[in-house]
Amino acid sequence: MTDHDATPDLTGPDLSESYALSINGRDREVADAWLGESLLYVLRERLGLPGSKNACEQGECGSCSVMMDGLLVNSCCVLAADAVDADVRTVEGLAPDGTLTDVQQAFLDAGAVQCGFCIPGLIVSVHDLLDRAPQPDELEVREAISGNLCRCTGYGRILQAVQDVAAARTAADAQEDRP
């Protein structure tokens, strides 16, 4: 019988693990980590990748969003030791160091960034959306970012930034297609 209401036994040794992860196309060694560590924790505290933010640690806010094997997930809900053999892409991997992606630039141009805490997660989610649906309507955008909470902006300028990128990409594609 499973009984999740029983008082958990929190005694005993903390088991440690060593394993390799593939982050942004590079193999990274993780040595002597506690078995229960989340991917978010390992990225931030062990691998020097603080772009993914920790705002809730319970899957609610999306500020820790990463791509894992091509799927958008919350890295706080992934056991790091189980991310072995997965292709993990974080916000740091979207553009070469010191440069911005079109989505990041559009967020700045639209004034969609206030405190900025939610933004790395939103950037990852919006890249995922636009890869799947290059010309999303407003409802699609709202659904795609429904797991990314922003406490500052009220989302208006974020929605605007997404439409700006979609329009710019469409215009660029049209330019390319011209004979």
Partner: protein
């Protein structure tokens, strides 16, 4: 070995046979929250992510077998025609991030009274397939979920799949919460019309210790429906909602009062039935 990462079901059940106390890890959306908040401290994890056979949705003449590791995202993207009610329910779960990770097997494993896949599985008379080194067995969802967050799974058993019978007829699910995304159900319903057997079935979530059926409401609605036209009059639809509300046994908690839940589940039941008939 603190974490086992088997690639086959046989290896996975062998791990559980050796250590029935191992923490089974599917998508992690329930388990990792427990771990991060120190409600659970894993000593030995059995990770299921690499077992391909648990990720399959397969059809037979009898129905559909949904592997335990099938995610909500897979259902809504790839199986909405085959499993319309489950796809509707899946779309209401958490956020895109949660739906890409969270699995049907995990929803059964957690067995929350508010688990959004469970009312539809119950309405479909689905059966949970469990496996261990001792063999496999199948249990109806109603027998598998024994109480709030309690199941009939033995410690050495894995949930490997859930079987739903083939069924002709419209289906609809509805969920109520404070917003459209990222909420735990205050109440939810799944209504399926079995047009061949001329039966109405409802599963109700978050209004009892386990997901509930409403047999009296189902029988009365089946009588009232004109099955050839797939129509029912407004009085019968309202009576269905009232009978479902009467069959619920909700509680007060921080998300809602029992009284509101009872009211809400009646409204959702009528609405789901209406949508089935209009479809």
């Amino acid at each position: 070995m603190p974490i086992a990462r088997p690639t086959s079901l046989d290896d996975a059940v062998a791990v559980l046979a050796d250590d029935p106390a191992a923490d089974v890890l599917a998508g992690g959306t329930d388990a990792m929250v427990e771990i991060s908040f120190d409600h659970r401290r894993p000593r030995h994890v059995l990770a299921l992510r690499r077992i391909d056979e648990l990720r399959q949705v397969t059809t037979t003449s009898l129905g559909v077998r949904i592997g335990a590791m099938v995610t909500y995202g897979q259902i809504e993207r790839d199986h909405a025609t085959l499993l319309p009610g489950l796809a509707m329910a899946s779309r209401t779960v958490g956020s895109p991030q949660i739906r890409n990770a969270g699995t049907i097997g995990g929803n059964l494993g957690t067995a929350s009274p508010a688990g959004d896949a469970l009312p539809w599985l119950l309405a479909m008379d689905a059966e949970v397939e469990l496996a261990s080194v001792r063999g496999t067995r199948r249990l109806p969802v109603a027998a598998f979920v024994t109480g709030p967050k309690r199941t009939a799974r033995a410690d050495d058993e894995l949930i490997v799949a859930v079987h739903v019978p083939a069924m002709e007829g419209p289906q609809h699910t509805a969920k109520l919460g404070p917003r459209n995304a990222m909420v735990i159900s205050v109440a939810c319903t799944a209504v399926v019309l079995d047009t061949a057997a001329r039966q109405v079935r409802i599963g109700m979530g978050a209004v009892g210790p386990t997901p509930l059926r409403a047999p009296d409401a189902e029988a009365a609605a089946a009588e009232a429906i004109d099955w050839d036209a797939l129509r029912a009059d407004g009085t019968a639809i309202a009576a269905f909602g009232q009978a479902c509300a009467a069959a619920a046994s909700p509680i007060d908690d921080h998300r809602s009062t029992a009284e509101y839940r009872r009211h809400a589940v009646g409204v959702l039941a009528s609405r789901s039935l209406t949508r089935c008939l209009a479809a």
